[in-house]
Amino acid sequence: MDKPVKQDFVKVRHRTALRTLSYPEKVRIVVELQKIAVPILKARGKAAHAWEVTSC
């Protein structure tokens, strides 16, 4: 029973850390998520491209 509780705690802590990042840092992560999602969406025939920002 201990293990799931510990995992939940780690997950909550991780999500809290993500929430408290600065806005520019969050935008940088969004762009990284876009880069991961684009090939998947393209394979499904959906047009998508990651933001072409030189700096966030």
Partner: protein, 167 residues
């Protein structure tokens, strides 16, 4: 992104728009953990919008096109970011824009809708992706319960909010 926000500020400084604020998924991202989205929703109040029978985004598009930022589907590409301009078309959006929060993006000033208004707009819009954002807002601790309840009541959204949060 900084350059995109600078261009939005220029639109406001030059009087092409009266006021803007970031909403949608990128607005939500200000308060919650980052998640995938592909455009930047920008709500705008247009000059003389009160008197105009028909709202037109043409002045925005012309201003941006003159600076090399061209339309692409429902967005305008501004410095690599597809920006969707959404006029404040109802009283909830007008209120949300009026009460939007001034924030700094590094050294660039910008404006984001409050978490309470973003949640209320999600309830009003009512799509599945809007609904998925509600637990994120609830978990974030960014909502001001008293303010949110008042907003929902003012705009007739209390019942749907109760439905969404009771399941």
């Amino acid at each position: 992104m900084k350059k995109t926000l600078q261009m939005l500020n220029l639109l406001e400084q030059q009087g092409v728009i009266k006021r803007y604020a970031i909403g949608g998924a990128m607005g939500a991202t200000f308060y919650v953990e980052p998640f995938t989205t592909f455009d930047l929703d920008v709500f705008v109040v247009l000059p003389n919008a009160d008197n105009a029978p028909l709202v037109s985004l043409t002045p925005i598009y012309q201003f941006l096109a003159a600076r090399g930022h061209l339309p692409e589907k429902e967005c305008v590409m501004i410095e690599g970011v597809p920006v969707q301009f959404l006029p404040a078309y109802n009283s909830l959006l007008e209120e949300a824009l009026e009460q939007a929060t001034d924030v700094m993006y590094d050294d660039v000033p910008t404006r984001v809708l409050t978490a309470d208004h973003l949640a209320a707009i999600a309830v009003q819009t009512g799509r599945s992706k809007d609904r998925a954002r509600i637990p994120m807002f609830l978990d974030s601790g960014a909502l001001n319960n008293q303010q949110l309840v008042a907003i929902l009541a003012r705009h007739g959204l209390t019942e749907r909010w109760a439905q969404w949060t009771s399941q």
